[in-house]
């Protein structure tokens, strides 16, 4: 995708990790708060024009990473480069081209939404106010009320307008949809799509897999401060495990369903079937189409489940960092999984064997 903001120096993707090509580029980025872990050895590379998801449970280090990128906090070691600007040395120019929605959102509560925006716009030398009005209208954001009288969701709308209003080259959004109602979320995803279409890059952090599947091109998985892997969203969708419950008008087709690949933990309860299902839904839907289905519910997997199905093995073993680093090559998704398996079996000599054992808890 052409991206005017990064310039012509951009090399084609796949030529290794080159700082010029990436909108976000971190090298062994590490942050400890005293002895408490923030993020460890984070190697990230986000190319221009991509909607890049940053997925992990609460406390994984997502907000830490984002605040490091913006130079709000300083790395213990390693470095981050954003839009070609070093986060520590060139922060003002870096932030001039970034729009940000903080995770822990706080606006000036005694000011109205519009006054907040005017202030933040003044720091940027002014913005196109017709665009602000357009954004506010699309999100249903009442800019005339004092922020302290707004609900969480409405505050977040003001923050979203604030992030988009100067048409930044990079949007860094930390859990931006928290508190937004579904219709507004829908509009918000539209905005992300449009931003990406006009060459803006989006870095979207979330702990919700469906949001990632909805909005992102690729997803980075983080846990316990470490990058586990970066995957195409389409690959994630095909492998996610759903909790499925089917109710039939009559005896359920227990046998055929139990035989379907991807089905596990099948429990029959009268005319109801409950099971876990991994993979695309098409074969399942085609199979049950022969029976009368009264109801079908499919619960999105929560993040712990996703991590377990993806990385259940690696999470207990070594070499997570290596798997993550390998997966950063654009076509390295499968290599990463394979490498991780190798590491697990202890068959890969070299760096993987030396990688520190992650200090994590299963949390289940």
């Amino acid at each position: 995708m052409p991206c005017p903001t990064v310039g012509d120096a951009r090399a084609p993707r796949g030529e290794g990790r080159a700082v010029v090509t990436a909108v976000i580029y971190t090298e062994k980025l590490t942050k400890y708060y005293g002895r408490q872990r923030g993020v460890v050895d984070l190697d990230l590379e986000v190319p221009a024009g991509e909607v890049f998801g940053f997925l992990g449970p609460n406390g994984a280090g997502k907000t830490t990473t984002i605040r490091l990128l913006l130079d709000l906090i300083r790395p213990t070691s390693g470095s981050a480069t954003v839009l070609g600007h070093h986060s520590r040395h060139d922060g003002v120019e870096l932030r001039r081209r970034v729009g940000y929605v903080p995770g822990e959102l706080a606006l000036y509560s005694q000011l109205t939404g519009a006054e907040n925006l005017r202030f933040f716009a003044s720091l940027r030398g002014g913005v196109d106010w017709t665009y602000v009005d357009e954004l506010a209208e699309r999100l249903g954001c009442d800019l005339g009320r004092r922020v302290r009288d707004l609900s969480t969701g409405n505050k977040r709308k003001v923050a979203v307008v604030q992030a988009f209003m100067h048409r930044p080259a990079l949007l860094i959004l930390d859990e931006p949809t928290a508190g937004l109602d579904p219709l507004v979320q829908h509009e918000f995803y539209h905005l992300l799509g449009e931003a990406s279409a006009t060459g803006q890059t989006v870095f979207l952090s979330s702990h919700l897999l469906p949001e990632m599947q909805r909005a992102c091109d690729r997803v980075a998985f983080v846990r316990d401060g470490r990058l586990l892997a970066v995957e195409d969203v389409s690959a994630v969708a095909g492998r996610a495990v759903h909790e499925v419950e089917l109710t039939f008008a009559g005896p359920p087709p227990t046998g055929p369903i139990g035989a379907l690949p991807g089905v596990s933990g099948l429990v029959a309860d009268g005319e109801r079937l409950r099971f876990r299902y991994a993979g695309p839904f098409d074969p399942l839907v085609k199979l049950v189409a022969g029976s009368t289905v009264l109801s079908l519910t499919s619960r999105e997997p929560d993040l712990e489940d996703v991590f377990l199905t993806y990385y259940g093995d690696e999470l207990d073993g070594h070499g997570i960092g290596e798997a993550g680093a390998l997966a950063l090559t654009p076509d390295g998704t499968d290599d990463a999984a394979a490498a991780a398996e190798d590491a697990e079996r202890g068959e890969t000599p070299g760096p993987a064997a030396n990688a520190p054992a992650p200090n994590h808890q299963r949390g289940l």
Binding site: Y33, R67, L72, I73, P102, E104, S109, E115
Partner: protein, 266 residues
Amino acid sequence: MLRGVFLKSLRDHRRALIWWSAGLCAFVAMECAIYPSVRRSAVGLDQYVKNLPEFITKAFLGSIDFSTPPGFVNAEVFSFMAPLLFLVFAVGTGARSIAGEEEAGTMDLLLAGPVSRRRVTLEKFAFVVLGVAVLSIVLFAALLVGTNAAGMHLGAASLARGCLLLGLLGLAFGSLAFAVGAATGRRALATAVSGGLAVALYLLNALSQLAEGLRPFRVLSLFYYYGGAAPLTRGLRAADLSVLSLTTAVLLAVALLAFTRRDVRA
């Protein structure tokens, strides 16, 4: 008024500044109103002061002389009430500047804009200076009008000296609160440290009039350079102005160094 950090501070605090100014004017008006009756009983008052325990007169009233206009204004305005008011204002404003913004959580969005921490620090500090300056000028104007109306005729130069010293004293403690807030992001800590130190240094200077042993240490107290209980009659000395201004400058430098280096609190 919402263009940049300095003007926003001014807008945020414009009502507070107006109320503080009004309060100072009311205080001065009240003092000037009681002056005639104090003068009539000046002999009695001086007798009363002389009968007070020695440690009180020496430590807190110094060369107090209610019978002369400068003595009256020194005692009633400059020895205690005005420094108290200025310190409360300056320490409060200084502590709120960086630490307050950080505790409110808005520092993240502010610093996510294309502004350096240095600029945010300087603009916020500029507002502290402006606020103290406004109060000093208001106090000067109110005293000029009030004392003349009460027939005291102190002279503009003498009042200006007192208000200048007062402003510099307030600014020094405001800078301390500003610097502690910039270094820690904790507003309560900044207030407590500055307030506590102000009380300690005030007592140090006051008690050094009384205890010979403390006398060498009074140079450590900013109140000594302010003129203790009698700034109006102290005269303007370059050393006083330098120490008070340098203290402020050093604390601003500390604030800049500390805030540009540390993590912003989440």
